[in-house]
Symmetry: C2
Subunit: 301 residues, 2 copies
C-alpha cells in the first residue's frame, strides 16, 4: 500500500493530518544559541630576544539589558523560525566577528528549567576557533561592548569518595576571565556520580562573579572539550595563521591544553600534520625558524 494513502485513526492521510495540525497547543520553550569563540593571541614580549607568550582568549559581551544587566555573557541569540540551529550559530558568529570562514562545532544543549529568569529558554552552545590575524579589530571599539578575555582554567581540588554502592568524583574548577578592565571569576564544582549503573554529571556553580546565566558552566564544558579535541585532532590549526613555526604551534597547544610539552615529543607527534616551506622567520634575535603550513592530506590517520 502506498504510504501517501495510509490513514490514521481519524481516517486522515498524512497530507490531511498536516493541514489540520495545530502547532500552538503545546507550551514551547525559546531556543537560543550561545557561542564560545576562542582565539589565541600574542602577548607583549618581555625582551626583544624572547619569544612572545601566547594566551587563550574568549569573546564575551557586556549585557546592557536585564536580566544580568552589567554582567558579561557569551554572545548569542534566538534561533529564529526560518533558520537551522547551525545557521543561527553561523549568523551570530558573523555578527560578532565579521568572519564566516571559521571552524565551528556544536557542544551541548543546556535545558534546566530556570536557567533564564525571563522564561523557559533552552540554549545550544557552539564552540568556534578563529585565527586572531583574520579577525578585524572589532571587539574593543565596538558599540556592542564585546571584549576578548584571557582564559585561565585551573583545577583547585579533586576528590574521590567511595561509598558502599556509590562512587563520587568531585572536581572544583576555577575559571578566570580577565582583560585590562575586568576580571571575572567562576568556581564550579563538577560532580560525577556513579551509583549502580547510573552515571551522571552535575555542575554546581559556587561562584560566578560577573558572568551571566549559566555561562560559567558552558565555559567550563567548552574548555574541557577544547582540550580533548586539541589532544586528539587537528583543530588547533584553526587557531593558526597560514604560515607558522613549530614553536608557535607548540605554544598554541600548550596554552589550550594548559600544560607544557616537550619539544622533541611534540615535533614527532605533529610531524605528519604539517608541511615545511622554504621560508624562515627573520630578525628574531636568535636562530631563525622554518615556517610550516598545515598538511591538508592529514586527517585522523
Amino acid at each position: 500500500m502506498n504510504i501517501e494513502q495510509l490513514r490514521d485513526k481519524q481516517g486522515l492521510t498524512e497530507v490531511e493530518f498536516l493541514q489540520k495540525y495545530d502547532a500552538s497547543i503545546y507550551q514551547r520553550p525559546s531556543v537560543t544559541v550561545d557561542m564560545l569563540i576562542f582565539t589565541v593571541v600574542d602577548e607583549e614580549k618581555e625582551n626583544y630576544r624572547k619569544l612572545s607568550e601566547k594566551s587563550l582568549k574568549l569573546l564575551m559581551v557586556k549585557r546592557g539589558v536585564h536580566p544580568y544587566i552589567g554582567q558579561w555573557a557569551l554572545p548569542g541569540g534566538f534561533v529564529t523560525e526560518n533558520e537551522s540551529i547551525d545557521e543561527a550559530a553561523l549568523r551570530e558568529l558573523k555578527t560578532e566577528t565579521n568572519i564566516d570562514d571559521v571552524y565551528m562545532e556544536q557542544l551541548y544543549t543546556w535545558g534546566d528549567v530556570n536557567r533564564d529568569p525571563r522564561t523557559r529558554v533552552i540554549s545550544c552552545s557552539y564552540m568556534a576557533l578563529v585565527d586572531c590575524r583574520s579577525l578585524e579589530v572589532k571587539a574593543g571599539d565596538d558599540a556592542d561592548d564585546a571584549r576578548w578575555f584571557n582564559v585561565r582554567y585551573s583545577v583547585l581540588e579533586e576528590k574521590k569518595t567511595m561509598l558502599e554502592k556509590d562512587l563520587i568524583f568531585e572536581k572544583v574548577v576555577k575559571i578566570t576571565l580577565s582583560n585590562d578592565e575586568d576580571i571575572l571569576e567562576a568556581i564550579i564544582k563538577v560532580i560525577e556520580k556513579y551509583s549502580g549503573k547510573t552515571a551522571r554529571v552535575e555542575r554546581e556553580v559556587i561562584v560566578s562573579n560577573g558572568i551571566a546565566f549559566d555561562h560559567a558552566e558552558m565555559i567550563q564544558y567548552a574548555v574541557e572539550r577544547l582540550r580533548n579535541k586539541v589532544e586528539y585532532t587537528d583543530i588547533a590549526f584553526n587557531l593558526m595563521p597560514e604560515l607558522f613555526t613549530l614553536s608557535e604551534l607548540q605554544q598554541v597547544y600548550e596554552v589550550t591544553l594548559g600544560k607544557e610539552l616537550l619539544s622533541a615529543a611534540f615535533r614527532r607527534k605533529i610531524a605528519d600534520m604539517v608541511m615545511e616551506t622554504n621560508q624562515f622567520t627573520k630578525d628574531a634575535g636568535h636562530r631563525p625558524a622554518k615556517l610550516f603550513r598545515f598538511n591538508p592530506n592529514w586527517r585522523y590517520l
Copy 2:
C-alpha cells in the same frame, strides 16, 4: 552599587523587568528528546558446546499516528514546561524500559528547519545503555509497539577528494535494523568539508526505508559515538550484568565496535577495569571461565 538596584534604559530594575517580560512575542519551536536505547543480548546458540553470539540492539517504536504513520521512530517526546531536558529524557527512558538506573548521555541537538513536517521541532538526542538482564520483557508484547532491532552498521564507501582549496571526505554508511518481523534500512552519506578554515559535517539521507524523520541520521551519529566511547572509556560495562566472563565482555566490545579483537591484547587493555571473583561458569561444554565484576576504582586512569 547593588546588583538588585541596577536599572536599564527604561529605568527598570531586574525584578521590575521580569514582571513585565512578555515571553510570547517570539516564535518558538517545539523541543523534543529522542532516545537511542542500546542493549546487547545473547542470540541462540548454534551448538550446545559453542558460546552464544551477542548482538547489539536498539529500541524503536512503531508510529501509529501521522506523520510517518506505520514507520519506525526512536522513542521520545516533548520536553514539557516544568522539566529539564535531562528530566524529559529520563522520563522517556522510564516509560519505555521501566528502569531508571541507567547510563545516559546527551548526544546532539538536531535543528534543521524542516526536520518535522508538522511544525518547527528541535530535538535533543540522548544515548542510553542498558543491561538486557535488568530489562523487563516489555518491548515485544506491549501496547506501545516498541521493539528491539538488531543493529548492523557498515561503511559502504569512503572517498577523499582534494580540490584546490578544499578537501572533502565522503563516507557512505549502511545501517540495517532487523528483527523477526521487520527489516529497516538506511543509507547515509556523511560529508566532511574542509574549505579554508571551515570544517563542517553534513549528512545526506540516501535511503531511509521505514525509519521516520531524521532518525536514521541520529542512529548513525549514535553508533559512531558509542564506538568512540567504548574504545576510550568504561561505558561498555553498562551493557554488562553484575558478573561476567572476560569472553563475554570481549564479545560486547566486539559487537559494539563492529570488529574482532585479539583476546590477549583485549585482556591486557581491560585488566585494570575488572576485579576477579572466585566464581566460575558451569556446564559450558568446555573449560569454565572465571567470573569478573567491574572495578569501580578504575576511572579514566
